[in-house]
Symmetry: none
């Protein structure tokens, strides 16, 4: 169970405690008391992880090898069945005027109807051999996936980053034939999207009511979908993921995990933790060997610099821990994927606390679950990519190296 | 701030305390109390570091990749502007008799006038394409640098290691054309140095007063100057180094750091720590982002097996820590580059204590700065090459890996 961005630095307003230290968390503390604790560097000491690279590492993959950018995971997360080698992009629905100038990169932060717009783009034929997959995401966001032989992610962005510019002509970054071909297709898609969307009924309606039309799509951040050994095969465990955000769902999906959708899981501090708890307990009762859980609210509060909300959210998470702790014959690991300090409002490379609960654990004498007290625990300082090896070993499922 | 060789092993005569544990160090203890502590393996657990390889690691470079021997760093440290690819040697001024037999490898431990002798060697032309740079170091020591195309450091030493032998004929170790060419040049230099130095006025004077003449130079330890990304570029910090010994100065110089010379900094236990402190405070007030400080006396005492002197020197260092601690908006890291135990009189691979002081640190409850108490600190056990990543992250200057 990864409490996204939960770890922090000492804050003056909290009497130089961290939010996790300030929060009243009797269940987490009980976990610390009954488990083995330590600090963990999700990637390496001092390295600032993304949520994606950290989860990749925690699941036992090497992010320096697997991570090709956010595009592939976002695409998988919104439900595109990506395949290794697919080139995936994050996109915006934007507004261009008659002169081809982008007047609003987010198309008035359009919230509804992008599924209808996406249908006009999805499946268009621009090249005999290349399949174009396009799907809406949240708000003005969408994903584009190109599938076919001879493609490359070594291309530039169409996104000019600021309003008042035309979409950028996408070019090959490495001069290769594959990149040239891919760039050409993306340029065609941008152009074609305007032709297809400008007179879309939804856009005509938006124009009529004075809203900027979502009449072009602007791709960025090309990334090739990595070839990843399915988690289930890598460890011989049947895995499932309970997550809130597309990014984490996408990682789970690319790792071949099943996904459980939770009603009311918003990824914010307002998420329905009661439903998440029910989902966890129900999933645990089924035929799975491994559940990856990610709860995102603490990270959101950290990014927004909301100290009190972060403390409160951690306390809210604590209330759902108790019943999960009581699951029998289960190893339960509680940790974070990185620190998102209130002071920096972004991820930092500070280590995160970790506790492992379960049969035959070498219980240490740590009594409180927070960044500092766990540093005296029996795990000392480990890395994210140690977790699966440790877990497999505790479960007596790993193969002996040697005689 | 690296206190060279400060760490040690428990000593019976000190009631099984280490010199750092026995020393009265209120300022260092204050640092421990206000900072986050841990133990550090400069390279890897149990690996015995040199001062050079340890500093290379601490500065964030991989010594297994960068380190080609001591020659390049010594040469840079005595002020030769070495370039990547240069072949650098450590040399002795020695004494040979008329039969070409070395009668004194250290030329009577000559102390003065080697600069005049060096002038006779520096710049000699033996090969059209190869520049010969030669410079005196301390005592009977000197450095030789060969610059040109098609050279190699895969050659043997001219130094026969013991008096009573002729200089060894230098040969290629790998049979390559480059090594053959380099060996030939070095053999010519050894021969030519005798011709140039035997009748040098200084040597005639030495002979007259019954001293062995410094009439030949004997190179050893060929090493190619490594190509190192400048520290300032690697981290985006403007760096400067305050060090006493040529070796550390050379590392700093090859890493592209500025050097600050301190009057009275001898590198021994008699060094002028007051001047070093002033130099640090003055440098800190200037336009630098990073100061590497190395103080060498504790290492010297360790190599000489002088227990009481080591304890006293550590106490002397302690008195200069206080003012440095009070610098504002500064991360101050105190550590050692290796242990130099009194018992072994050489470097060992025991981990060294480390403390980090500065804003937003997760202060732990360690109260004393010594090898054993810091092991319970919040850093747990890190490696030398984690330091820069941790520091960059604390300063919020590192780039996030992922999203």
């Amino acid at each position: 169970m990864v409490i996204d961005g939960m770890a922090d630095r000492p804050i003056k307003e909290l009497g130089y405690k961290t939010p996790l230290e300030a929060a009243i968390t009797p269940k987490m503390d009980k976990m610390a008391e009954k488990g083995i604790c330590g600090i963990m560097d999700p990637i390496k000491p001092g390295i600032r992880p993304g949520s994606d690279t950290s989860h990749i590492s925690i699941l036992g993959y090497d992010p320096y090898e697997v991570y090709t950018g956010r595009g592939p995971f976002e695409a998988a997360g919104v439900g595109v069945d990506v395949l290794p080698g697919d080139i995936a992009f994050r996109c915006n629905f934007s507004t261009v005027n008659n002169e081809g100038i982008i007047t609003d990169r987010r198309a008035g932060r359009i919230r509804a109807g992008t599924d209808e717009l996406a249908e006009y783009i999805n499946g268009i034929k621009l090249d005999e051999d290349v399949q174009v997959i396009f799907k809406e995401s949240t708000g003005h966001r969408a994903v584009l996936v190109l599938r076919g032989e001879g493609l490359s992610d070594q291309i530039s962005d169409a996104d000019p980053k600021h309003d008042g510019n035309a979409p950028k002509i996408v070019v090959a970054l490495d001069g290769s034939e594959e990149a040239n071909k891919t760039a050409e297709i993306v340029n065609k898609i941008v152009k074609k999207s305007y032709e297809l969307l400008k007179n879309h009924p939804l856009n005509l309606k938006r124009i009529n009511s004075g809203k900027p039309p979502a009449n072009i799509i602007i791709p960025r951040g090309a990334g090739a979908v990595p070839k990843v050994q399915p988690f289930g095969k890598k460890y011989g465990l049947k895995p499932v993921c309970i997550a809130e955000t597309g990014l984490i769902k996408g990682i789970a999906k690319i790792a071949g995990m099943e996904l459980v959708d939770i009603e009311g899981a918003t990824g914010g501090i307002d998420t329905n933790l009661e439903n998440i708890k029910k989902g966890i307990l129900e999933t645990a009762s089924k035929d799975f060997d491994f559940i990856l859980i990610n709860v995102d609210g603490a990270d959101e509060a950290g990014h927004d610099g909301q100290m009190d909300e972060k403390v409160k959210f951690i306390e809210k998470v604590d209330t759902v821990i108790g019943e999960i702790m009581e699951l029998e014959d289960v190893y339960f690991i509680l940790t974070a994927d990185h620190s998102t300090p209130i002071s920096t409002m972004d991820h930092t490379g500070d280590p995160v606390p970790i506790v492992i609960l379960g049969p035959e654990i070498r219980i240490d004498d740590v009594k409180y679950f927070n960044e500092r007290s766990v540093a005296k625990g029996g795990l000392c300082r480990i890395r994210g990519n140690n977790i699966m090896d440790i877990l497999m070993d505790l479960m007596n499922l790993s193969i002996k190296f040697g005689a």
